[in-house]
């Protein structure tokens, strides 16, 4: 285990961090949604994707080929969502919790 990683990759987050911004748009949680990459065709949970939050937009990249899957930004009272890198988004509908 080493600390000599480059600073950009050390600031890398994952799809869990995109859950908050996307909650403003989606009625259900999307971190458990599975997304198929438009570039390489691989499918993985949004929570497994790589996220770079330092850019002007939050950039979500494919964990397999690192192509941009999704970008989300908010400015001047508007929210911008670019989904052109996601070929298909499959969202699990919530189950009613019963822990009590």
């Amino acid at each position: 285990m080493t600390d000599t990683t480059d600073p950009v990759s050390a600031r890398r987050l994952d799809g869990n961090a995109a859950g908050g911004p996307l909650a403003a748009l989606f009625a259900v949680d999307v971190t458990a949604a599975r997304s198929r990459c438009a570039a390489c065709g691989s499918t993985s949970a949004l929570g497994e994707h790589l996220v770079y939050a330092d850019a002007p937009a939050m950039v979500v990249r494919c964990p397999t080929c690192t192509e941009v899957v999704l970008r989300v930004a908010s400015r001047e009272g508007r929210m911008l969502l670019d989904l052109s890198g996601a070929a298909l988004l499959t969202v699990p509908m919530p189950v009613v919790a019963d822990d009590t």
Binding site: D3, S9, G20, D29, T31, G47, P92, A97
Partner: protein, 236 residues
């Protein structure tokens, strides 16, 4: 906010009463948004360290000297102050008794948690939830902290937890020391043959190194869930 107290030298425990809170799952987080007088906003994610059974929300906030959000939360916010929260967030990096009841196949597999520093927060919630509901699921935590006094969640962690101290160990310490590596993972976590469901949380470099070592030991990459909180560790 109801309480803001130092849990360790660098981490404060914030106790929040959130009106209309819909409940949450262990592992979920909230986004804290601060707005300055000039309208500038800063937002950070913090895992919930309290289980769903506790009506108040607990956050463990690590103070980062150059942070935009954490110094305000640890040093400035007082009892009865209010700030903006979004949440609960997340359906991927979660574990709950109800999910195990709904998926008996998955529930037979043990749960391995691996934490670096403040990355232990979601696992404190999971272990507390596990204990309160007397879950039959086998669960272990391997937790890397710098020193013994920086160990978080001591009221919850029990015999299921192995702590390794990376900077300094007190005299008479019989636990692990040094960073988590492949050898320690092999000694202190469920073997690949048990097909554990593994959750890794901590700074990005830590979390990715642990995940790589686990895959090297023969664990199924698709059974490893990671939550990274960047290099600064602003979020936990």
């Amino acid at each position: 906010m109801l309480d803001n107290r130092a849990e360790t030298p660098r981490v404060h425990r914030l106790v929040l009463d959130v009106p209309g809170w819909p409940g949450h799952l262990p592992g979920q987080h909230v986004d804290v948004r601060l707005t300055g007088e000039d309208g500038y906003t800063a937002e950070r994610s913090y895992s919930l360290a309290s289980p769903p059974e506790v009506p108040l929300l607990h956050l463990l906030v690590e103070r980062l000297d150059d942070g935009e959000v954490s110094p305000y939360l640890t040093d400035e916010v007082r009892r009865d102050d209010a700030f903006e929260l979004r949440g609960p967030i997340g359906g991927w990096f979660v574990w709950s008794v109800s999910a195990d009841r709904a998926d008996r196949e998955a529930a037979r597999r043990p749960v391995q948690l691996v934490a670096g520093g403040a990355g232990v927060s979601p696992f404190v919630a999971m272990l507390d939830h596990h204990r309160r509901l007397d879950s039959p699921t086998r669960m272990q935590l391997l937790y890397s902290a710098r020193t013994q006094e920086e160990v978080l969640g001591r009221d919850v962690l029990g015999p299921e937890t192995t702590v390794t101290l990376t900077r300094q160990a007190p005299e008479g310490w019989h636990g692990e020391t040094g960073r988590i590596d492949a050898g320690m993972l092999e000694r202190r976590t469920f073997a690949p043959a048990e097909r554990p469901r593994t959750y890794v949380c901590g700074p990005t470099v830590f979390a990715e190194a642990v995940a790589t070592a686990l895959v090297g030991l023969g664990h199924d990459p698709s059974a490893i869930r990671i939550e990274r909180f960047g290099s600064a560790g602003e979020s936990s």
